[in-house]
Symmetry: D2
Subunit: 344 residues, 4 copies
C-alpha cells in the first residue's frame, strides 16, 4: 500500500482521481488539498463519494505533509506544480502532474503560451511525458511525470501508427476535436452554463490553442522532424468525452492500415482498435481509461481519417495519471482501471 496526496482536489480531475482510486487495492489517499475548501469533507462536496472516504477532508497545502507521501498528484492550474515540485522530489516523493507545467520541453515555448516565465526549468530535463504507449520504459523509473493533456492524448494515439511508420505527409495534419464541457473545468463561467452550452455546438480557439504546441511536440517525436498541424477544438453539449477526427494525406501506399493499427496496439491494454468500418462513440469510454480508434479511407482518396475517442477526465487526465502511477510503482498497469463503461 502506497500513500498518495492530491494537490488541488476540488476540480473535476481531482474528484475523478478519488473516484477511480476507490478501486485501487494498493493506494491510500492520505491528503487532498484545497485552499478554498479547507475543512470541507470531500463527500460533502461530492455526494457520489458518500460511503467512500468518509473521513477525508480538504486541507491547506502543507509541504511537510505532502513530502511524507510516496506520490503526489497535481490537479492544479498551471504554475502550482512549478512551485512545489522541487521540494517534494528532494523529499523522495514522486510527482504525477496533471497540469501543463512539465509537458513542453522548451521553457521558452511554455512561457510564450502561458504568459509567464517557466517556474522550474531545471526540472525539465528529467520530466517524462506520461504517454505510456510511447514512453512506457522511461515512465517506470521517472520521478516526475507530466500527464498529457486530454486533446493531446486522443490526437497522439490516433496518429501514432501513421507517423511512426512514416506513411503520411506531416506538413498538413488536421485534427478536428470535439470535447464535452468538463474539459473547461469546474469554474463558474457563463459560457459553461447548461442554459448556454447545451443544445449548441461551437468551435473555440480556432486561431490557436494551448494544446497545439504539446501535440506538435509529441507528433514530431514520432516521426522525427517538425509537423504542420491545424488543431481546432469544439465545445460539445455533453459532460464527458473527446472525439478526435484526424485527417492525414498518405505519402505512399500504406498497405493494410487496419492491420497496421491492430499490430501497433496489440499489447496496449488501453487502446482498442475497433473493427474496420466502425465509428467509435465517446459514450463507449465514459468513465474508463480506454482509447477506442477506427480508421477510414474514402474511395479514390489518399486522405486517411482516424477516429479516436477517450474520456477526457480518465484517459485524458486522472485515469492516465493512475496508469502512470501503476508503471512507476511496479503495479500491474491496469490495476484499479478494469471496470467497463456505463452504457447507456
Amino acid at each position: 500500500m502506497i500513500k498518495v496526496g492530491i494537490v488541488g482536489g476540488t476540480g473535476y480531475t481531482g474528484v475523478e482521481l478519488l473516484r477511480l482510486l476507490t478501486q485501487h487495492p494498493h493506494v491510500s489517499v492520505e491528503a487532498i488539498t484545497s485552499r478554498s475548501e479547507a475543512g470541507v469533507k470531500v463527500s460533502d462536496m461530492y455526494p457520489n463519494l458518500r460511503g467512500h472516504y468518509d473521513t477525508l477532508a480538504f486541507s491547506e497545502p502543507d509541504a511537510q505533509q505532502l513530502g511524507a507521501m510516496d506520490a503526489v498528484f497535481f490537479a492544479t492550474p498551471h504554475g502550482v506544480a512549478h512551485a512545489l515540485a522541487g521540494e517534494l522530489l528532494d523529499n523522495g516523493t514522486r510527482i504525477i502532474d496533471l497540469s501543463a507545467d512539465f509537458r513542453l520541453r522548451d521553457a521558452a515555448e511554455w512561457a510564450a503560451w502561458y504568459g509567464q516565465p517557466h517556474g522550474a526549468p531545471a526540472l525539465l530535463d528529467e520530466a517524462v511525458y506520461g504517454l505510456p504507449e510511447k514512453h512506457r520504459e522511461k515512465i517506470k523509473t521517472a520521478r516526475l511525470v507530466a500527464v498529457p493533456g486530454c486533446y493531446p492524448t486522443a490526437v497522439q494515439l490516433g496518429y501514432l501508427p501513421l507517423l511512426e511508420a512514416g506513411l503520411v505527409d506531416t506538413d498538413r495534419l488536421i485534427a478536428d476535436c470535439k470535447s464535452g464541457v468538463t474539459g473547461a473545468g469546474r469554474g463558474a463561467k457563463v459560457g459553461s452554463l447548461l442554459a448556454e452550452a447545451s443544445e449548441s455546438m461551437k468551435a473555440y480557439g480556432a486561431s490557436g490553442h494551448r494544446h497545439l504546441p504539446e501535440i506538435r511536440q509529441g507528433l514530431a517525436d514520432m516521426q522525427g522532424g517538425s509537423v504542420g498541424l491545424t488543431f481546432v477544438p469544439h465545445l460539445t453539449p455533453m459532460i464527458r468525452g473527446i472525439h478526435a477526427t484526424l485527417y492525414a494525406t498518405l505519402s505512399q501506399e500504406p498497405g493494410d492500415l487496419q492491420a497496421r493499427f491492430e499490430q501497433r496496439f496489440a499489447n496496449e491494454p488501453f487502446v482498442d482498435v475497433m473493427p474496420a468500418g466502425s465509428h467509435p462513440e465517446t459514450r463507449s469510454v465514459k468513465g474508463i481509461n480506454t482509447c477506442r480508434i477506427a480508421i477510414h479511407r474514402q474511395e479514390n482518396s489518399n486522405t486517411v481519417v482516424v477516429l479516436s475517442v477517450i474520456d477526457n477526465l480518465v484517459k485524458g487526465a486522472s485515469g492516465q495519471a493512475i496508469q502512470n502511477l501503476n508503471l512507476m510503482f511496479g503495479f500491474d498497469e491496469t490495476t484499479g482501471l478494469n471496470a467497463p463503461a456505463i452504457m447507456p
Copy 2:
C-alpha cells in the same frame, strides 16, 4: 463461483447486469439469450463490453442450458418468466425475475393490469418480493424472487419509515415521480427519440400506471390495511435516474423525523439518509445501487416531503437483482456493488 444465465439480454437491464457482473468475483455469466440477436457477440452490440465477455454471444433460449445454471435472471417483457419459471425451478435453478411477472400477489389484479391471464399462478405463493430492506430474511432462502420495479423501489424506500411507524395518513399519499428515458426501455419509439424527449418534461400515465398496484401492495404491507395513493410518473430529459417526491400528511407529531429515518436505515448498505436539509441529485447515484433520501417539512405545515433518488437501472433493476442474488447465495450483500457513482 456460481453459473448464471440471463434471459432477454438485449435490453437495458440485461446489459446493465453484464456491466455490473464484471465486478462480481463469484459469478460467471454462462448464457445470455435473445431470439432476435442470436449469434451476435454482446460486445458487438454493447461496445462498452469490449475487453469483457469477449467470447459471450446471445443465444436462442434453451431450457436445458438454462436449467444447468445456478441462477437465471429474467430481463424480459412480462409473460416470459411465467412460461419458463416452473421448469427451471424443477431443475433446481433459482430465479431472479426483473419483470413484473411475480410482483403482484393477486393473479386477478395482475391480469387486470396486464391484459392477459396470469401464466403461473401456482408459483405466486412462493415468490418473494425482492426488496431487501423489507424482506431480507425471506429472500435468503427464496427460489423465486420478484425484483421490484424502479418506481416502486424509490417510492417504497422513501415511505418505509413513515408507514412502519404509523405516522401518516395513508388515505392520501402522493408520489410524484420523475424518470430518465431508459425507464422506457430500448424500444425504438418516436416518443423516446432525442429529438422528441430532450429539452422537455411531461407526465404520462397520469390516469393510472402499471406500477400503481405494486406500490400500493408494498405500502399496505408496511402499515397494514390499504392505502390511498396517487402516483404520477414523468418523463425527464436524462438517460438514467428516478427522483421520487413523496408527500404525506402527518397524523401525529412525529418527533425527530431525521433521526427516525437514520435509525431505520442505519444498517442498510444501500440506503443513504442525507443530512437534514439536503436535496439529493439523481446523478449522485448514477450507475450504483444506492438510494439516497432526504426529509423535509415546511414551516407551519403537517405535510412531510421525502425526496428519494435511485438509478432506475441499478437499484431500480439490475443492481437490486444482484443484491438479491448475493443474499440468496450467501455472499456479502454488497459484493460487486461497491464502486462509487460517476460525477460529474
Copy 3:
C-alpha cells in the same frame, strides 16, 4: 408606436423581451440599461439579435431617459424597481415589473421573505398583479403592474377553475413543479453548469421557497380564505419550461371537470385546455406565451391532478409582460405573441 425602456437587460428575461418585441409592430425599444455592460451592443452579447437592434447598446440607467418612455420594463433583481418606480410614475411612465418587488400586497411578508425592508410600500395599493386571466380589467388602467413569477403563473392557472368553483379542499394543495435551468437566471453558479445540472434531477427549496407566499396569495384570492399549500420546485435538465403537477382533493362531486376547464378558459387567448387524457409537454410551449393544461382523475380516487406547462421565460416572464403591455396600451392582447412554438 410607443417607446419603451428595459432596466436590467442582460439577463434572460431582458433578452427575451428584446426577442419577442422584434415581432411587435407598435413598440420601439429606445433604451436598455445595464451597469456592467454599458456601451456593449446587445447583438454582441446576444448574437441571435444580430440583424435586429443593430444600433441598440446597453446604457447606464438614467432616470431622465427612462422617464421619457411610455413604459419601462424592469427585468432586475428584487429591490431595483422599488428605488425607481416612484419617480417614473410621477413622470407619467407606466411600469411593468418582472421582478418580485410588487407581487406581494403585504410589505411585511415581502420583507420577511426577501430579507430587507420593502422599498416602496406606498405604491403597493395601486400595483396590479398582472395575471390577465384573473385581473384583466384592472390591468388595462394600471400604472404599475407586477408580472407574476414563473412558478406562480403555472400553478395559479392550473388551479384557477377548481378554486373559483370551490370544488376542492384548500387545506392541502400540493404543487410539484419542475423548471428548466433558465429559471435560475444567467448568473455563473457552479450548480447551473452543464457539467453539474445536466443528466440529473433534484428538488430545491423543499423546506420553503420565495414563490410560496405569492402563490398562496393568488390562490387565496380565487376562493376566499387562506390556503394550505405545499410547493416543491425541482431543477430539470433542460433550458426552458415549467411543468406544474398540481394535486387537490375534491370536496364534492365536480361534474365534468374537462368541460369546466374548457369553459373557464374558452375566451383566454393564452390558455389551451388540451383534450381529455392529454399530457402536455413543455416543449410544446417553448418560446411562446401559451399555458397548456390537462386534467386527470385516477379511478376510484377523489384526487384531481392538473398538469400545467408554460415557458418560464415567456408566459412566466417576458411574454406575459408584453401581454400586460398590450392590455395597458389598448393593443390587441395577442399582438407580437402569435408565433407557434418550435418543435422539435
Copy 4:
C-alpha cells in the same frame, strides 16, 4: 395569396414548413399529405400547432388536389418527387423539392448513390439547384427547384468566397461537419433514442456519405474543374443545428480574408459574416434561416479554417425552401423569415 401543398408532411421538414408558414402573409397551406396519418389533424400530431391550422388534417396524396396548387413542397424520402413531378409541372404547379431527387445533375451518379434508377431524368435539365446565394436569378423563373441538403448548404456557403476567388487548393478540401439528431429524421431508430444519442459524439459515414457528390458538384461549379473533398459528418447530442468546420490550403496570399467574405455576402439577407475572431454557435441560428460564418487562420499556417453554422431544418431545409418560394413568386426574399433565433 398563393395556395401551396406539402407532400409528406409528417416528418420534421414538413412540420417546420408549417411552423414557418404561419408567419408568411401571402401563403395558404391548402393540403398536406401523408399516407400513414391520413385523417389526423396536424395539431394533434404536433401540439405546437394548436391554435394554428386547427382545421388542417393530413390527407392521402391526390394528384388532382395537388395540381390545383400554385406550388407544392416535397418533404419526402427520395424517389417520391420523381414519380409526381412531371404531372404537377404539366398542370402548371411549381415544385420545391426538399428531397435529394433533383440535386445531382448526373442521373447515373444519382443512381449509384441511391441504389435505384433515377425516376425522372427528363426533368434534370430544367431543375434548378436552390442555393439562392449562387443561383438566385435562375430560381426566380424556375418551375422545379431542388432545395440543397443541410450539410451541402453549410459547406458550400462557407467555401463560396474562397473558391469563387480561386484562393485555395481544391485538391484537398476537408469538411468536418457536426449535426443535431433531427438530421436523421423522425424515424424510430434505436440509434436516435435519447438514451443512445445523448451524452455522446460519434462520426458516421466516414467512408462515404450521400451528401458528398452533392457538395462536390456545388463546389466544382464555384471554381470550375473538379474538387477533392473529404467530408465526415458527426452526430451531435442536440436537436437542431449544423456546425461545419472547413479546412483549405491557401494557394496564394489571399489578402484580407475577412473583408473578402464580408464583401461577397454584403447583400445576402441570410448570410451573416461574424466579426473577425468569432466562433459562431449553432444555437444562434436555432429556428431561423441565417447562416453565420467566421474565418480563422492560425499563425504561420497557410491553412484557412471557416466555421459555418445553420439550423439544419431551416436554412438546411424548410426555411431555404420558403426563401426559394419567395424568389419564385416575386415576394420579398425574407418574407415570413424575419424572426430572431431563440436564445437561450
